[in-house]
Symmetry: C2
Subunit: 123 residues, 2 copies
């Protein structure tokens, strides 16, 4: 674990946002950390391969990075905003339905976030 990778891991673990590589890069620069975007990508890949972070893929958005603690997501179908939600772990229930071993699962609930709801009401 390199120093930079650790900084990046801390950012991800300390934030409830779901940051892109670019956003992490900018946040580091704000904090006067001298780092290149390539290193951000390299570190993210390394952290991901070690299972220390997760990726969240949403159509139309660059990869966003997330802490590993189990949780699910609300995805705003208008603006793409991701919000964590803590539902009960369904692994055991799913395993009963699936003929091969279940490693994990990924649940994204599509909704319209409050902010987009408001905007739409205004129009």
């Amino acid at each position: 674990m390199t120093k930079n990778a650790e900084l990046i891991l801390n950012i991800i673990n300390a934030s409830y946002d779901h940051l892109t590589a670019e956003q992490i890069y900018l946040r580091l620069k704000e904090d006067q950390v001298k780092i290149s975007l390539a290193t951000v990508y390299n570190s993210l890949t390394a952290l991901y391969e070690q299972g220390l972070i997760k990726k969240v893929l949403v159509e139309g958005f660059p990869d966003r990075y997330d802490r590993v603690r189990r949780h699910d997501h609300l995805v705003c179908s208008r603006c793409g905003r991701l919000t964590d939600i803590n539902l009960k772990d369904m692994t055991a229930a799913l395993q009963k339905e699936v003929p091969v071993p279940v490693l994990s699962y990924d649940l994204k609930i599509s909704c319209i976030c409050d902010e987009c709801s408001k905007k739409e009401r205004r129009n």
Copy 2:
């Protein structure tokens, strides 16, 4: 709905594979349809915007296209293979847990497919 879009929609609806734009393009060429890859992309985008097809995103793979009939997916964490699975619709149950209206959800179950299991046993 253009003639080409209809051909593409038929391919997607007639197949349990989860084809990429490129695969759809190649399949059309096999069938002697004169079409460009750009038109395949354009048509897919149009079909998607009309809600006539869905996209499946899996890390490391190009977008794959899918019929809209509600179902869930098994995703092989080794090879990326997608398999349909028909679990009970959870929308109502999820709605009880979520403070905003639930439009839909996307459940991907990560597993190791039979073929990859076999390969691993051999090694």
